[in-house]
């Protein structure tokens, strides 16, 4: 889960998983339910197989059914922070448990300096200070996760919003066919690249 905070690590982990999958000779196509994910997917290479990805900013575009729905939510309220059952699982999202998570990260790094650990936790709060809305997105009706998101909103003094999930993009990724408007097919020997227009993703020769 922490890989999503570090796009370089995410890229390396995905590449390594792909390389392993490609060793299975029967595999022809690998579906990646990822989007740009902070550019963590940029540079991921297809070897022998073709890769298919939804054109998405990240999983939120997938859960909402399209990048356009994702963009519309942020346009209406740029202070929206998205929660989903998977994202909540690590208990590291902004909310009542984040401080404990951060202490566990930082205390071993600064064992002789509790003051610095406190400063880092305060700085972390600053990172999220510009947000004001916890938006819960779910395709599974996970009531425990939804209730946790409501706790987070209360803890932070943010508004709470439930956004309706739309499984169409994920379903169509799994079933195909993959129309070029909504999906990127990366041919063997090519890599995922950024496409700054509305297409978001492109394939480039490596």
């Amino acid at each position: 889960m922490g890989l999503h905070d570090h796009p370089d690590k995410l890229r390396a982990a995905i590449q390594s998983a792909l390389d392993t999958l490609e060793e299975e000779r029967a595999t022809e196509t690998i579906l990646l339910a990822y989007g740009l994910c902070g550019n963590g997917l940029i540079g991921v290479r297809a070897g022998r197989c073709q890769l298919v990805l939804p054109r998405a900013h990240d999983c939120i575009s997938v859960f909402l059914g399209s990048p356009a729905s994702h963009e519309a939510v942020l346009k209406a309220d740029p202070g929206t922070y998205f929660y989903s059952p998977g994202w909540i699982r690590g208990r590291r999202v902004p909310g009542p448990d984040r401080e404990a998570y951060l202490r566990a990260c930082y205390a071993p790094r600064y064992p002789d300096d509790p003051e610095v650990v406190d400063d880092l936790i305060e700085a972390d709060r600053e990172i999220f200070a510009q947000h004001g809305c916890a938006a819960y997105v779910d395709l599974t009706n996970d009531s425990a996760a939804e209730s946790y998101c409501q706790d987070c909103a209360r803890h932070l003094g943010w508004k709470y919003r439930r956004l309706p999930g739309d499984p169409t993009l994920l379903r169509d990724l799994l079933t195909g066919p993959w129309d070029a408007a909504r999906f990127l097919v990366v041919p063997p020997g090519h890599a995922v690249a950024q496409s700054p227009g509305g297409a978001l993703l492109a394939a480039s020769a490596t």
């Binding site: 905070d5 570090h6 796009p7 370089d8 690590k9 740009l36 902070g38 550019n39 900013h57 990240d58 990048p67 994702h70 963009e71 942020l74 346009k75 740029p78 202070g79 951060l102 990260c105 930082y106 610095v116 400063d119 880092l120 936790i121 700085a123 972390d124 600053e126 990172i127 510009q130 947000h131 950024q194 700054p196 978001l200």
Partner: protein, 213 residues
Amino acid sequence: MKTILASLAVAVETGKRNDAKNLTQSLVDKGMAPLDIVEQGLVPGMSAIGNKFKKNEVFVPEMLIAARAMKECMILLEPLLAKAGIKPKHTVVIGTVQGDLHDIGKNLVSMMLKGANFGVIDLGANVDPSKFAAAAKEHGASLIALSALLTTTMPAMKTTVDAIRASDMAKLKIMIGGAPISQEYADQIGADGYSADAASAVDLALSLVGETH
């Protein structure tokens, strides 16, 4: 004084703002020129933590506490810089583009530009595209710097560049940066430069205004 400067750089790098303030004050008391303190103590400290961040060795909060330490030292030094007649040679207008509220990267770049003796007009975050050219005109800026954190707000960067190019400040240099931004994107939207981090943003800014670093 070299030892104190080295300790100051370490205090900034590790975000120990009280130590950094005390060391800055002691260098001032010893008669060191404020600009030398900035260039040889504060900026190297920020560059060091910036390099660690680039290598994924530290996280954003560690960058933030370092920036806060540098900021507190700058509060001590800015009046002395002004008194010493050190005036910014160039002014830059900086802001995060419309729809994007994230200001951490933009604040770090602002701080490093101030450290390099730029005058910085900070328009904040979620800035209307028309405001950049207007502020540049008002303050006689020679450079505009745009930031975006999200892939969802990257299109606003293009809108902003287009608005500047369509204004009477069309010839101003524009530099861009932010997590999803690349040189390729800068070329595509007609920005004059891209930098990957706050330290290289200073080198880029200097070269865009015709100064060699």
